[in-house]
């Protein structure tokens, strides 16, 4: 081809990319913005817990057990061992968020890898992978989490492991169905006709169009994961005392509902606020990524 080259790449008019549009739509959604603000605040609170918390979350005192909300020096009261509730709630965010978000995060990578492999290769590979996934899908998620961590025993690592196993199948299924759909679109055929390797096609053409929807789906699972993770600690699995963690705090304060009911309910309120914020954030992200709207 003998045509004078256009060497003015710097002058090319650039369109705002897809993600720029997503950001623009997301910023116009007040509910999603509030949810994002709450989530960020919770994360900052957890990260800087030692700086934010007014007291030592471990310091117990038999003399000031189960003080009500509004007690001087203990704005949210004290727990069954006389520890400052506010400080424990702030510190509790660390383990609760870690145990809720990490399994979804890891499962997002593993599940996407399985789903995209199965979806792009199809055939026998797909059958083997997806039928295995089906087996884990045959358990209600709560039951599977409890079965695995029940057998493995209490502990943060065992809890994380169990929850990760719980969230891989749903993510893999979504990734597989989106990939199968994308693989049949003509731009993937065009890429194959250009002689690109399967790996390159997946990297350039499949991943970018699959990972978005799968990511949104995964963010929707964070809320479930938070509730489940705290639920495991509530059952005595997962986090062990005396660590502050919302589910575990709810468990140890259960008998206190006859003495200081609203203090006992506080850790659950934190789980609820976190969970609903992640859900609203996920909903906002979903509608912002829907190119049709």
């Amino acid at each position: 081809m003998s045509v004078a080259s256009f060497q003015h790449i710097a002058e090319i008019e650039k369109s705002p990319g897809y993600w720029a549009g997503v950001m623009r739509r997301f910023r116009r959604d007040p509910v999603a913005m509030i949810a994002l603000f709450v989530v960020l605040a919770l994360i900052l609170m957890a990260v800087f817990a030692p700086l934010v918390a007014p007291a030592d979350p471990y310091r117990a005192s038999m003399l000031r057990r189960l003080r009500p909300i509004g007690t001087e020096g203990f704005p949210l009261g004290t727990d069954e061992l006389g520890r400052d509730m506010l400080s424990r709630l702030i510190h509790g965010g660390r383990l609760s968020l870690l145990m809720g978000v990490t399994p979804v995060f890891i499962a997002f990578f593993i599940g996407s890898a399985i789903g995209i492999t199965a979806g792009y290769l199809g055939g026998k590979v797909n059958s083997v992978l997806m039928r295995t996934i089906d087996v884990f899908f045959a358990f209600p998620s709560v039951l599977l989490a409890i079965a695995l961590s029940g057998a493995l025993g209490a502990g943060i690592f065992n809890g994380l492991l169990s929850l990760t196993v719980v969230f891989i199948p749903p993510i893999a299924r979504i990734a597989e169905s989106v990939t199968t759909a994308v693989r049949r679109i003509e731009y993937v055929e065009a890429a194959r006709a250009s002689g690109a390797s399967s790996f390159t096609i997946v990297r350039v053409h499949v991943l970018g169009n699959v990972i978005g929807p799968v990511f949104v789906y995964a963010t929707g699972l964070i809320s479930v994961s938070l509730i489940l993770a705290s639920g495991l600690s509530f059952l005595g699995l997962g986090v062990k005392p005396p660590e502050p963690e919302w589910g575990l705090m709810l468990n140890t304060l259960r008998n206190a509902i006859y003495v200081q009911p609203w203090v006992a309910a506080l850790p659950g309120l934190m789980i609820f606020i976190t969970s609903i914020s992640f859900n609203l954030l996920s909903d906002g992200l979903r509608s912002a990524m829907d190119i049709k709207s």
């Binding site: 081809m1 256009f6 369109s15 731009y187 065009a190 250009s194 190119i291």
Partner: protein, 336 residues
């Protein structure tokens, strides 16, 4: 035939049957005979038109040629070299590129136009900056100002503009053959004309060879040097465009042409257009596949499959018992 020795592309007995999955544990419940032992040749510099109703195997043929679908059997011979034996599939694709019908689905929504066009050369070893410069050249070639269009995303372009980009992408390899699979079918008539003119110009400038697939007989006549008519995965008739349009031999071709809208009332034939849908390609009828819809069908048509038979006009062949001497068919004029 003179073009035989000089064929750029030669296709021998190309066959693809799709297994129908279903039943217990994916046990095959039958096969779709999408493309059934077709053979043809394409001479350098010509345009071969392929026509037929939807489901006749036109698009499958296109995908088989560039190996997007693996053929069950048959040979694709490019410049005398057998693809898969004397020439790798990868090398073949550098010489033979394809443009698809759906201009939007053909472009990755997450890539800019320059990235879409540069992708192919890039993965074939061209440096990124060079590939982008090439993309800009190609955009200019297909009539899109690079400055304005290189950084755009597919949804910001019109259908005609997108199809120009798809053509540019196909040209990025400097191919010898471009397969246009219903490439203008989804466009508005006015836009279609512009893209067809572009294709004609490009063909002249770059000495291209086209395989032009369409269900629109007017467009095929306008574009092609020779035309191949397909019916249920087989070749019904093939010949030079003038000969085929003026004296169609196969009853199916006649019916297609009769159903073709014509501006000239004198040219309208009295022959009845095709009735009904083509039979199911899963269980095609025995004998001649067209006999269930053919008004000239006789006993032999249901029993024996007709082979392509050379007609008196140069390079014109048809698979119809009526034209094969001693076939047992009394001929088309007997009852018409």
């Amino acid at each position: 035939m003179t073009i035989e020795s000089a064929a750029l592309l030669q296709v021998n007995d190309l066959t693809k049957h799709f297994p129908l999955s279903g039943g217990f544990f994916g046990r095959s419940a039958g096969v779709v005979r999408a493309v059934d032992s077709i053979s043809f040749e394409v001479a350098p510099g010509e345009t071969l038109g392929i026509v037929g109703e939807s489901g006749c195997g036109k698009s499958t043929t296109a995908r088989l040629l560039v190996n997007l679908i693996e053929p069950d059997s048959g040979q694709v011979i490019l410049e005398g070299k057998r693809v898969g034996a004397d020439m790798s599939v990868r090398d073949m694709r550098r010489h033979m590129q394809m443009v698809f019908q759906d201009s939007y689905a053909s472009l990755n929504p997450r890539l800019t136009m320059e990235d879409s066009i540069a992708f192919g050369p890039n993965v074939n070893g061209m440096a990124r900056q060079k590939a982008l410069a090439l993309a800009h050249d190609l955009l200019f070639r297909v009539g899109l100002e690079p400055r304005r269009f290189a950084g755009r995303y597919p949804h910001e372009l019109s259908g005609g503009q997108r199809q120009r980009v798809n053509i540019a992408r196909a040209l990025a390899f400097s191919p010898k053959i471009v397969i246009l699979d219903e490439a203008v079918s989804a466009l508005d008539k006015s836009v279609e004309a512009q893209v067809l003119n572009l294709l004609a110009d490009l063909k002249k400038e770059l000495a291209l060879t086209y395989i032009f697939i369409s269900h629109d007989l007017n467009v095929v006549r306008h574009m092609s040097d020779r035309v191949m008519v397909m019916y249920l995965g087989q070749v019904a008739e093939i010949g030079p465009v003038d000969s085929l349009y003026s004296s169609p031999a196969h009853p199916y071709t006649r019916a297609l042409l009769a159903a073709m809208p014509s501006m000239d009332p004198d040219k309208r034939t009295m022959e009845a257009p095709l009735a009904g849908d083509p039979p199911n390609p899963i269980n095609p009828p025995p004998g001649c596949r067209f006999h269930t819809r053919c008004k000239f069908a006789q006993d032999v048509c249901a029993k024996e499959q007709p082979v392509l038979h050379i007609l008196p006009h140069a390079g014109h062949m048809a698979a119809c018992h009526a034209h094969i001497p001693h076939s047992g068919h009394s001929g088309l004029e007997a009852r018409a």
